[in-house]
Symmetry: C2
Subunit: 334 residues, 2 copies
DNA sequence: TTGTAGGCGTTATCAT
DNA sequence: ATGATAACGCCTACAA
């Protein structure tokens, strides 16, 4: 009997099984932007881990469209899903947050990566932004910089210094203070969008100061890359005229020129903790912080004299890390 | 009665409905790399479109792991899914292809974006690579270049010129011939991986020719960006010493310096056609080609003199590269 | 060990 | 019109 079943290619229907068990075999992922390589990696790693546990993942990504996000959430709940993973640190609209709090209190597992659901103890995992700010600032300080700017994107100045990245910003300030430097508010800039023109605006404003910065700590690799693009376009040298540090360790950062010094979040840990939060909400409430790692490349440290001019700037020897070549990207359409 | 149901927040269960209707409300997406921004965009756009039709999408992305891919496919089929979308142009392993052909013949809708299932008439949509090669080559030729290299990544030379990107490569050659130039095999390079060192190897080999190329057509934006990174590291100017054109229109291409000239595939059309193929397999068998668009930015055409140094390079002017060379960016500092 | 009954949430069908 | 019932594919539970 079983042999015939196997020969006929019989497969149990997970959806029906879930129906019987009163439990959906699906996780919903509410994401702000799968287009962002960092979150794409989070989604991919999480999906692989969840699949190993027998869960399929339905990804809903509507970018910044808040009304669409609300519809996405209802769509997921109607499927239904066993739990919802929140990915991303942008603020969600109040109705969505309220709905999330509601379903969480009603017993649906919810977990957040780089985010939270206000008013709840939803399990959430985030990189230790205090550490991010400290590592970046200390690295630039140790490279000899005294005037270190901080540039972020997307939120108003007020939000940036009070909101989700407050810890990163405060650590930047605290580390400066610890080094005996007085934080200068004029060195803190916010780009309104990720674009060349916004980068040029921020850069020009920084350079117009009587004491312009010699280094910049960018809140994300993309901000760093965009600033570097603007700086090179303005005739500046990087890192000689403007040392730059980003955050995220995007793959492209090791390919462009100069290669990008960055701070890498441990994505493996983050998705594992989030999955645990979804599977065992009871034991994993509240926030868990994970520690990032500094990756020194060419955008923050100039090549040593003997190597200069011969090839691309080499990373600082102390913490040099040769990234393994990425495997073939399997690209190009048909 | 209905009012009470609404007040209690009743939602129909799509999975149970599917069970009854004998049809799953889920599409499976088999993807090579959601980490690649181009495919991430494909996945996102497709998901939004499918959701509007009431279908959820389960994404399975195991990168290059072929055995995992086979497991992913079985996982999707067991869910079960209503259909499977294939995303990406890398060759799939024979067992996976055979399984796909089998389920397709058994009636499960299958569609492919930038790929195919050998031995079947599965609906597939791809960018017209013949046009891609022609547009890129013609653009560089019209910018005054006679020695145009072609650089791709990941496959052996033989595969690259015989396999999935044959059309692109042939069009490059054909366009050169049409312009009265003789294609030079030494100008065709393949990087074994997307890395700085591989880019330097390719670049050095090209530059060591007695007549080195003055322009390069890169098979993908990432190849182009990596080559530009290597070229700038070698002290070359882009586009003056090496004009560069990529393919994909990745967002980062408009942010780095120099901004990247690229050829943009119409993703909206591609996902719409793929969804149609999944919903109505009968009427949409076989291949459909879509047309890409050239986006001229700074990496292929130098800024005109009057604008030079002021802002990002302006688009096309035939004589642009005959203009007197600009100062090296690394020396211009204000 | 093998068989059978019931029910998960939905919808189609049939009876009222 | 409204209401009852069966069945989708699976699993659990109890009976043989």
């Amino acid at each position: 009997v079983r042999r015939v079943a196997a020969e006929l290619g019989y497969r149990p229907n997970r959806l029906a099984r879930g129906l019987k068990r009163g439990q959906s075999p699906i996780f919903g992922i509410l994401d702000f932007s799968i287009l962002h390589p960092f979150y794409a990696r989070v989604v991919r790693e999480f999906e692989i881990l969840a699949r190993a546990q027998g869960f399929a993942c339905v990804v809903c990504d509507n970018g910044l469209d808040e009304s669409a996000e609300s519809a996405s959430l209802e769509f997921l709940l109607e499927l239904p899903v066993h739990g919802v993973l929140l990915v991303g640190d942008r603020r969600r609209s109040a109705p969505v947050n309220e709905r999330l709090a509601e379903v969480w209190r009603a017993g649906t597992p919810v977990a957040a990566i780089s985010g939270a659901v206000p008013g709840t103890d939803v399990p959430r995992v985030a990189v230790d932004n205090q550490l991010v700010g400290q590592i970046a600032t200390r690295h630039l300080r140790e490279a000899g910089h005294a005037r270190i700017a901080y540039v972020t994107v997307g939120l108003s100045d007020e939000e940036s210094t009070a909101g989700y990245m407050a810890a990163r910003w405060r650590a930047y300030q605290a580390e400066l203070a610890r080094q005996g430097l007085r934080p200068d508010p004029r060195l803190v800039m916010t780009m309104n969008a990720l674009s060349r023109s916004e980068a040029e605006r921020a850069l020009d404003q920084l350079l117009s100061l009587t004491e312009p910065p010699t280094a910049v700590f960018a809140s994300h690799d993309e901000v760093a890359l965009t600033l570097i693009g603007a700086a090179l376009g303005r005739g500046l040298r990087v890192p000689e005229d403007l040392a730059t540090v980003g955050v995220d360790d995007l793959p492209i950062g090791s390919l462009v020129w100069p290669t990008l010094t960055t701070i890498a979040p441990p994505i493996d840990q983050m998705v594992a903790l989030a999955l645990e939060g979804l599977l065992h909400p009871e034991g994993t409430r509240g926030e868990r912080l994970v520690e990032p790692a500094l990756i020194v490349r060419g955008s923050s440290v100039a090549p040593t004299p003997e190597r200069a001019g011969r090839r691309a700037p080499a990373p600082a020897r102390a913490a040099a890390r040769e990234d393994p070549p990425r495997r073939r990207p399997s690209r190009a359409r048909g």
